[in-house]
């Protein structure tokens, strides 16, 4: 049964969602319990994969419907014919992020999203969102990736527009689905061009016969820019603040997770699909590709933070920070891309390129923890004061000690203060990027300072100040589920912060080696 794990991870949420309308009327307590157990089982299955995929560096294939699922191709033919799921340590890394984020976010949403007839739809869409993200991180097939990308986009758009009584929520959902449809159409065009050249949809097979022609560059361009748009890097990021601000708190956390899975998919496409293939010498100039990603990253960092500083809507402020943190990941991995196929036999990559990539990908995991924590705390703040305007929030610290402590942990982590996990990955990024080109590192540090400044603004104005019970709209204490979600995330932040060695050696280092195939 253990070699069926990849399929179980994707199909369990699907079957739970399909049965939802029929079992949805069995009372919401039982439904929440069922969904939480399913998400726990998902995490369990993922961590069962860690020993042999991450530590021994094995790659598990799973061919759908084949007589022997663990073989990449059928006996007797050299090209894959069916859909293949590929679990190497990088896709396992993405899966772990999705598993942790969905578990904590659903725990949080049991408390905040109010129970009514439409809540069973909310949990169905939530499960399908999880299945979409899991599928996107595991699949090795281009069109299968497109189908799961579409699942996560549509469920994200519907969940953004969940609160239809708000003035702008449906329009934010419309923006999200329009941007996603443009991105998926161009992505499908890239897939069509790849199919036109090599007759297959399998990422590994196409990379083995890649001829680096003009059309491959066009296909790479469409696929990577479409993924960058969905991940929210700067020139195409303007939908991020509008969508995250209107969505319920747990859904903006999930949207951030889908943005990061899209970012990981973008790195997988640059390395596994269009990487320097074994057959042809790489004519694609990875230096320029790296510099494109670096420019996107630096722009995201700077514009994200400067716009965040002047916001007075707490969710829009955090959305702009999501954009600026995406800039850090793009910068880290961009340096790796620029250097990994350099002519000097990998000396530069061994010197700082690999450390930059380790920093960038470690930052993806760290960001998954603390950015979701901040989105969830902004959900609590919005529920307490009924408004998202920072000027209307005073003295929350007196009432919710847990939220205050958790917000402090998240804010210090995002600003990169030593004991917390933001510092470890940012340090790796600063050191390696400094060796690549000092100006980028200086910009990164300046942006980190401004991140701290904007979160101090939020903390100062909404948590401190005198106790004002007249402003509190809803004083009910947080439910057990909400507290559990916040505490798990805070504990994860502190653990990864104090013992980064375990996480870097256990999951991040094998992920980078799996991605770049360079020891």
């Amino acid at each position: 049964m253990t070699n069926h794990i990849p399929v179980l991870i994707i199909t369990l949420p699907l079957i739970a969602a399909f049965l939802q309308p029929v079992t949805g009327f069995a009372g919401f307590k039982l439904r929440n319990l069922v969904i939480i157990t399913i998400l726990l089982v998902l995490n369990g299955l993922l961590f069962m994969l860690v020993p042999d995929v991450a530590l021994q560096g094995k790659t598990i294939y799973y061919t759908m419907g084949a007589s022997d699922p663990s073989q990449f191709t059928q006996p007797g033919i050299s090209f894959p014919v069916r859909i293949v799921l590929k679990i190497d340590s990088f896709s396992l890394f993405t899966g772990i992020i999705v598993g942790v984020v969905t578990l904590t976010t659903f725990l949080f949403s049991t408390g905040t999203v109010k129970e009514d007839k439409r809540k069973s739809y909310f949990s169905t869409l939530f499960l399908l969102f999880t299945a979409g993200l899991m599928g996107m991180s595991f699949t090795n097939d281009l069109f299968n990736f497109f189908v799961f990308l579409e699942i996560s986009s549509i469920s994200g758009a519907a969940l953004v527009a969940y609160r239809t009584y708000r003035k702008h929520a449906p329009y934010a959902g419309y923006k999200y689905i329009l941007i996603s449809t443009i991105a998926t159409t161009f992505f499908l065009f890239g897939v069509g061009i790849c199919y036109a050249q090599y007759g297959s949809f399998n990422i590994q097979y196409i990379n083995s016969v890649l001829a680096h022609s003009y059309l491959d560059k066009v296909a790479m361009l469409f696929i990577i820019v479409a993924m960058a748009m969905k991940a929210g890097s700067v020139p195409m990021h303007m939908w991020v603040p509008d969508t995250y601000a209107e969505a319920p708190a747990s859904i903006s956390a999930m949207l951030k997770a889908s943005g990061m899975v899209t970012l990981c998919a973008m790195f997988r496409f640059t390395f596994s699909l269009f990487g320097p293939s074994s057959s042809g010498a790489g004519k694609i100039n990875y230096e320029t590709l790296g510099w494109i990603v670096i420019v996107l990253g630096v722009l995201s960092m700077f514009i994200g933070v400067t716009m965040a500083l002047i916001q007075h809507d707490v969710r829009r402020l955090m959305a702009f920070h999501a954009v600026s943190q995406t800039g850090y990941m793009l910068l880290g991995v961009g340096v790796g891309i620029a250097v990994f196929a350099k002519g000097d036999g990998g000396a530069a990559f061994k010197a700082f390129g690999k450390m930059a990539m380790v920093g960038g990908i470690f930052h993806i995991m760290n960001n998954a923890f603390y950015k979701n924590l901040l989105f969830l705390t902004s959900g609590v703040m919005e529920r307490r004061f009924g408004t998202r305007n920072l000027n209307g929030m005073i003295g929350l610290g007196h009432r919710d000690t847990l939220t205050t402590v958790v917000f402090m942990i998240g804010a210090l982590a995002i600003a990169g203060i030593p004991p917390f996990n933001g510092f470890d990955s940012k340090l790796l990024i600063y050191e390696s990027v400094y060796k690549f080109s000092p100006v980028l590192a200086i910009i990164a540090m300046f942006v980190s300072v401004m991140t701290l400044a904007s979160f101090m603004k939020v903390f100062y104005s909404s948590f401190m100040g005198p106790r004002r019970d007249d402003l509190i709209v809803e004083g009910a204490p947080l439910t057990k589920g909400t507290k559990a979600g916040l505490i798990i995330l805070a504990a994860l932040i502190i653990l990864t912060g104090l013992f980064p060695g375990i996480i870097v050696d256990g999951i991040i280092e094998p992920a980078v080696t799996a991605l770049t195939q360079i020891r």
């Binding site: 689905i177 329009l178 443009i182 916001q311 007075h312």
Partner: protein, 119 residues
């Protein structure tokens, strides 16, 4: 010779739809534009799958020639999926546009700023 018209149609449909997404102001008009973009991608896949003087990939009552040539089946299978996904996205966007109209009373992009005033 014949495929040049098809590929030119595909590219011009895509350019037309992306230009109209940039310039048109009505939300429902944008949905029509995106439908045209999806149809152009479908046409692109089907022209890739076409082979001259060959039949559809169905063996029931296919012409019983010795040299039976058939069109490529896998792009057609994918376009089946893509058409239904295009329909699904259209339905969702239309419902969201209708509810936006119910909340804001207008479908014009310039009037629907969707963003409260900045700080």
């Amino acid at each position: 010779m014949l495929s040049i018209f098809l590929y030119v149609t595909v590219v011009s449909l895509l350019i037309l739809s992306i230009t109209s997404v940039i310039y048109k102001r009505n939300l429902i008009k944008l949905v029509i534009a995106l439908n045209i973009a999806e149809s152009s991608v479908n046409l692109f896949f089907i022209t890739l799958a076409y082979r001259p003087d060959s039949t559809a990939p169905i063996f029931t009552l296919a012409p019983a020639l010795q040299e039976l040539r058939m069109v490529l089946p896998s792009p057609q299978a994918l376009i089946l999926t893509n058409i239904v996904i295009g329909f699904a996205t259209t339905a969702l966007m239309l419902v969201l546009a209708v509810i936006t109209y119910k909340n804001n009373g207008t479908l014009d992009i310039r009037k629907l700023k969707g963003v409260e005033d900045h700080d």
